[in-house]
Structure formats: C-alpha cells, structure tokens
Amino acid sequence: MDKPTIDQVAEAINEKFGDAILSKEQQYDFTVITIDKSILVSLFRFLYDDERFQFRYLTTACGVHTPDQPKPFTMMYQLHSLVFNLRIRFKASTTLNDLQFDSLIPIFSSANWMEREAFDFYGIRFKGHPKMTRILNVEDMDYHPMRKEYPVEDLTRYDKDDTMFGRDRSGYKKLN
C-alpha cells in the first residue's frame, strides 16, 4: 500500500467528521489539527481502524493550560502510524466548567496513565476511566499544580522574581 500524505489524512478526516475540525496548521514538522472534543474517541477509532492510515500508536498525550484563551484547557494527543511512519498531533480544548474528555483507554491501553497525569496536574477528568485518581502527587493535595495560577514557589519570596525577565510575578504573563 502506498504511503498516504498527511493532507490525505486531513482530507479523510474532513470527509468523515466535517465541521468538527476547527483548524489545521503546520508547526515545524508536525501537522496540528484542532478538533471538537466530542468526536475524540470516534476520530481516533476511525484512524486506528482505517487500513489506509493505521494510526495505532499513541505516542504521547498531555494537558496544556492557556489562561488567556476562551477555552483555556487543552489536551494534546500525538499519534504515530508505524507502518507508514506518519505522525500527527491533535488538540481539543474546553472550559473550566466542562473539564471533561472521553477516555481513550478502549483504544490505547497506554492512555491510562497519560490521562491520570493530566488529571493530577490540570484537573481534567476523563469519562470512562477506571481509576481517576492522582498519580504522581500526594493523594491529599487539594489543587492541580501545573495550572498557571500556581506559582512555582512561595509568592513571599522576592529573590527569584520574574519581573526581572519581563514577566509578571506569577511568571506566566509577559509584561509588555
């Protein structure tokens, strides 16, 4: 079978899911497709099963927090088709009030701890996950530390102030 191009993949997704694709852009050597989170599982199932593409390897998944966006919480997924050596990245965003994605465990067993990590650090919940608990942090922690509002150190310290480097005191916002 011929190796499909990444454009053919995008076209096939477009054909099947239509308006659920929000944007497509090129970031260095990766094509990044932003999708609506409602099609997540059906899209990944389609790419897994389709003989033309065979995206059967979940390279990685992680959460991202961008506080200034209308939908600040994003999940990033990277798929790899080992047969054709194609890599693709998907992103789906959501708001704080609807912080839930569908779990990918039925397709990829490896999604289990990746999703638990995203829950631990960002508080993103996964529907259908068998054990949605913290994984790397202590169980009685009452916040999700990778969110941008949590500074890396105690705010009473001034010796490591980020304002020296053109950012506000929390470290994530540029001043100019």
Binding site: Y28, F30, L58, T59, C62, R87, S109, S110, L136
Partner: protein
C-alpha cells in the same frame, strides 16, 4: 514458555504483600501492593511518584539553557542522550544548523551513553538471577565511559553535557584516546560477560518465558526502545526519524521474538555491539571531514562566547549579556523532538510563547508509559519473576516520576 499454575476462583484467602517502596530488589523507589496466592501474584497495584520533582513545572520557570540539568535527572543511566535531546529540541525551535562534525560528536556521546545504560540494565538482570560476578566486571567498562564524559564535560553521572548549538569545548586528545580504547577493548569484555550468562542453563531457565508481552499488546501500551524490539517490532527512532545525521550510519536493529526477559537481555546485548560500530564509523567520518575544529554552531545569540572574548570584545560582551539576561528572541510555536533514549522514544514537547522560558514543556518518558504494562505482565507469575521482569524492563525511577 513456562506453564503458569492456574489460579482458582474459590474462597481462598489471599495474602497482601507490600513490595517496596524501598527494597534492594526493586532498584529504585517503586511500590507494588501485591495480592498473592502462595508464591503466585494474583494482582498488583503499582504506586508511583515517590521521587516526583515537578520537572515540567520547574521548566516553565527556567530559561532554556537551565532546563538541561533537569533532563539529566530523568534517565540518569544515560543522561547525555537526554541532554542532547533537549538541545536538539531548542535547536529545532530556533532553526539552528549544526556543522556535521558536531553532529557526529553528538552521535558518539549518545552511543556511549546507550552502552552505559544497557551495561547496567543487563548486568542487573544477572544480579537478580543470582549472578553477581558479571555485574562487578562490567562496571569497569561503565567507569571507562564515565571517564570519557569527565574528559568532555567534567561531570560523570548528571552530565549537563553540551550546550544549545553544540559542545562547550572540543574533545581533547585524552578523550579521543579513551573513546578509541573503549571501542577496541569493550567487545572482548562483553564477550566475556556473555560467556557467563547467555548459554548458562540457570540463567536461561530463569529468564526464558519470564514476563513476556506480545507485539500487539506492547504496541497498544506504546512500548518503545529495546522492550518493544524484544517483542519483535523494529521501531527505532534513529531509523524512522533520523536526527543528528544518523542517516549517515550503517547499523542494524536487533529484534527479539517472544518479548520475554531473555529477549530483552539479548536485544540490549546486540545493541551495544551496534553502538560500538556506530562510534567507530563516526570517528572515521570525523577524520575524513575537512572541518577539524568546529564544535558548535554559529549562533551567537544563543551560544555563549568564550570568556576571553567577553572581556576583550564588545560584541561578545553584548551577546553574553543578552543570553544570560534572556533578551534574545525565540520564535513562537510548538515543537516536538524525539530521540532514541536508553529505554525508547524520549520526546520533548515544547510550547514557546516567545519568552525566555518554555511556556509548556512535556517530557515523553518511555519508562512512564511502558511501566503501565507491568501489572499485566506479572499477573500469574512468581514473585521472583516479577523482580526479574522489572529489572529487565529497565524501569528507572527518575524517568518514571519526572
């Protein structure tokens, strides 16, 4: 394959056994709460995170060049690969082009690190089967590799080797001599080590059929590196997505068949020979190059100038100041770069917002991803086989917990 005793679903009372978190047999801080039926594992529940150090959060508050020491502490058995992977990620982001000589030098360092990593893993499999001798012998070779690191960067375990754009200094004569000596002497040493284990009846009985995983399950668990290749899938980042001029080298990817401990051991053994061949080729290629001196790329706004220039040359002083104070502009964007680490695909997912620090940095740590399968792999096995399975998967606590 060994036949496993059947587990009966009657009114048995199982024993709960706490394996770890600190136990000499676990080679690190791992906890597994095992449900045991006599000596057989019925179920297990891994607890991880004992040495979680919040690297991803810390990295968001450090300039790019200060993230390198964090990567040292991921897989600390092969720190140079982690360092190089991070440098290459930033170089991809800023679009830096490296001279061939630097890329070949990097290949040498990364392959040395791979040998050191595999030496530890394989000799520890020996220790867990009761053969201490091999472990003590091969540590001499690891020591030799650490001496090479020491010649190049001054450190041994957590190396912080190289800089964004190349190396901090050129390899000196002693370093070249030691590398040459290592690749000449090591094959005989490895053969000696193999004589102790490879066809040893006790070792074979203990490892063949111990902790197997099928290719299909391994792929579903996103295995990578030697553990995936032992299951029979020839996925290697060095071949699939060549970086640092790996496409210039001739080498083979050894694969196993059953995905058990013996196959993982044999795949790592063969990889060491392949690594030595790559190092030899790299040295030949460097000899043939016209360029005899360059050890870094020409990117003055990211690569610190030599100290004497900083004191005597206005331009160098400006660049020095700009780099240290984080005044250089970095492009906005997101980049993913992966290298073949000691344990598999080590990826760096970096989002840059144009500032001096990463906006978000995610490490794709192979250990973290494949350790999930441990529970499935030891179900129905003996306790002593579980220990062996863990050491043959080369689960490194630093990489697991980030």
């Amino acid at each position: 394959m060994k036949s496993k005793p059947a587990i009966q679903e009657d009114n048995k009372q199982y024993t709960t056994l706490n394996l770890g978190p600190t136990h000499p047999a676990t080679h690190g801080i791992f906890q597994n709460v095992l449900t045991m039926d006599g000596e057989i594992i019925v179920d297990s529940e891994p607890t991880i995170g004992y040495i979680h150090r919040a690297f991803e959060k810390l990295a968001e508050h450090k300039p790019f060049y200060q993230v390198t020491p964090l990567t040292d502490r991921l897989n600390y058995c092969s720190s140079p690969i982690n360092n190089m992977g991070w440098h290459m990620t930033v170089e991809k982001l800023i679009g830096a082009e490296l001279p061939k000589r630097v890329e070949y030098m990097r290949v040498i360092i990364m392959e040395l690190a791979r040998i050191a990593d595999h030496l530890v893993c394989n000799s520890v499999i020996g220790v867990d089967t009761g053969a201490m001798t091999g472990f003590l012998y091969v540590f001499q070779w690891r020591e030799d590799i650490y001496e090479i690191y020491e010649e190049i960067c001054g450190a041994r375990l957590t190396t912080n080797i190289g800089r964004i754009g190349g190396f901090e200094r050129d390899f000196n004569e002693t370093a070249w001599r030691k590398i040459k000596k290592l690749v000449t002497d090591l094959p005989a040493g490895l053969k000696e080590f193999e004589k102790l284990l490879v066809r040893n009846r006790i070792f074979m009985d203990r490892t063949i059929g111990c902790g197997p995983i099928s290719a299909e399950r391994a792929l579903n668990y996103s295995f990578s590196g030697p553990n995936l290749r032992a299951a029979g899938v020839d996925y290697d980042v060095r071949v699939m997505n060549p970086y640092s001029s790996y496409q210039d080298f001739e080498f083979e990817i050894p694969i196993g068949k059953n995905g058990d401990t013996y196959d993982r051991f044999m795949v790592r053994e063969e990889e060491m020979y392949q690594s030595m061949s790559i190092i030899r080729q790299a040295m030949e290629k460097i000899e043939k190059l016209q360029d005899k001196t360059s050890f870094h790329a020409d990117i003055p706004s990211f690569y610190l100038p030599p100290k004497e220039d900083v004191y005597n040359n206005m331009e160098a002083l400006i660049y020095h100041f700009k780099i240290v104070m984080g005044e250089t502009d970095v492009p906005k964007g997101e980049v993913y770069h992966c290298v073949e680490g000691g344990n598999g695909e080590l990826g760096f997912y970096l989002i840059s917002d144009g500032g001096r620090q990463p906006f978000r940095l995610h490490f794709r740590r192979p250990c973290y991803i494949y350790y999930q399968a441990y529970r499935e792999m030891i179900k129905g096995a003996f306790l002593s086989d579980a220990i062996l399975t863990m050491s043959s998967m080369n689960v490194i606590a630093g990489e697991l917990d980030a």
